[in-house]
Amino acid sequence: MKKLINNPLKCADELLEGLVEAYNGECRHVGTRSIVKNDIPEGKVALLIGGGSGHEPIYHGLVGRNLADGAACGDIFAAPPPNIVLEATEAVNRGKGVLYLYGNYAGDVLNFDLGAELADDDDIEVRTVLIWDDVCSAPPTQKHNRRGIAGLVPIVKLAGAASQKVATLAELEAVAKKAVLQTRSVGVSMAPGSIPATGKPTFNIDEDKIGLGMGIHGEPGVGEIPMATADDLTVMMLDLIFADYEKDDEVDALAPGDEILLVVNSLGATTMMELLIALRKAKAVLTERGIKTYDVLVGDFVTCQEMSGISFSITRLDDELKQYWDMPCQSVCYSKMEGRYGG
């Protein structure tokens, strides 16, 4: 594998140095391995995200204007240790508490919880909302055990906007929970990424098979199925999402007239051409069901090196979430203007 790196064990640190340069003065490097916005106003409820590196542009690319205030960054594919979480927490705290919002992975939960305990020693109030949008990683009755994948992009965008408007940590927590509850994702993988430190693939899969519901590190999902066309696969994936809203007692089924955000994400190697072909079919399926795409996000958001694969995420908007979506945002991962694209 030809890989444009220097010391394989320094990838996470060196990419963060580059990310700070990409932010061109809006964010700075803090402590061991965190990135934090420069202009967080006093009295603001803070939003902290984070997770393993190697999935760029998330998670740390979602720090920015009307987005997260900071990110605690782990090593490649590894959760940030508690001391990094603490350093980031202290750097974003403006006296109104800090919301931790991150993907539900065992390592992240352990380390962010340890970080929260350390922050509590410093009298910083922390609350946690976990992102669990990957419907293939557990049934609806156990949805709190699911992994977090590309649904985190609209979720962090909505929470980041809300963090500018709310007066209390509890209000921000409520918005983030609502965004999580209304978001569902399904991914497929066609080929693995590699671990930069070893050069080895993250998983193995036959050339003529795809992993339906496979996680971004190769965690198993529904199972392996024969390679399919973009149209067939898109229908299959969206049906899993529709079925999940239907089966989940806590949310309504997606119904005609509902307004959603649609995310079409590449896991790294899948090209924009392929994403657009899938998006074309997804839009047709949604239109047929009478579901309105309020906004569409298409591109590389949640990746795993040169992993080949695609994921769809849907977030259903209500009036409150729509108001937060309409706010502009800017970051390395995702930027938008006021309102909706084309609106």
Partner: protein, 212 residues
């Protein structure tokens, strides 16, 4: 009959030897984790143990417990991931339980393993039989508790055998927690990578002490 106890310096050097053994075992751990997890356990443990070498090498410690706390802090703050938090919790809580003691005997070893094991389980939520590092740690802690009347050398040897047996037993477990939980029955036949690491550390500790 081996030595009755180890000095602070001997404990420090024993943990440096264990760190070196894990670093050398990186390819084994990587392969074990690729089979059932996301393949990063070997690299993470190597990173953690390099931090342990830096934290311990040539340093003086006021107590045996502080050596173990130093191991845990180095792992927790350098590794990240679930393994960093869990190994860090294990070594830190086990070390704290030893207080100001300036030597490690078999009774101290039993206390270290018991406190480390209990705190690890309450932090991580895994129980014996879930196919995690707990499946090597709990039998090791139980064996340490049975070995309090022995020399430290014999106690460490017995603990190492128990940890290895626990690692082997994890092969026939179906994962319900941790790295392989989503694999279900497909996790059968291979050991948990965290349990492999525990067995390597316990073996290296025993070998170091028996060579004194």
């Amino acid at each position: 009959m081996g030595k009755s106890s180890l000095s602070i310096t001997e404990v420090r050097d024993m943990m440096l030897a264990a760190a070196q053994r894990i670093i050398e075992a990186e390819p084994i751990l990587t392969d074990a984790d690729r089979a059932l997890g996301d393949g990063d356990h070997g690299v993470g443990m190597e990173r953690g143990m390099n931090a342990v070498k830096e934290a311990l090498g040539g340093k003086d410690f006021p107590s045996v417990g502080k050596v173990f706390v130093g191991v845990g802090t180095a792992m927790m703050s350098s590794m990240g991931g679930a393994s960093g938090a869990l190994f860090g919790t294990f070594f830190r809580s086990g070390g704290k339980a030893l207080g100001d003691g300036e030597s490690l005997d078999a009774a101290g070893l039993a206390l270290f393993w018991k406190e480390g094991s209990d705190n690890l389980m309450s932090r991580g939520g895994a129980k014996p039989g879930d196919k995690t590092m707990v499946d090597a740690i709990v039998p090791a802690a139980e064996k340490a508790a049975e070995s309090t009347g022995q020399s430290i050398t014999d106690a460490l040897a017995a603990v190492a055998v128990a940890a290895a047996a626990g690692r082997d037993a994890s092969e026939s477990m179906i994962a319900t927690m941790g790295r392989a939980k989503t694999l279900g029955e497909n996790s059968l036949g291979k050991p948990d990578a965290g349990a492999v690491s525990v067995a390597i550390i316990a073996a290296a500790m025993s070998e170091f002490a028996s060579g004194l």
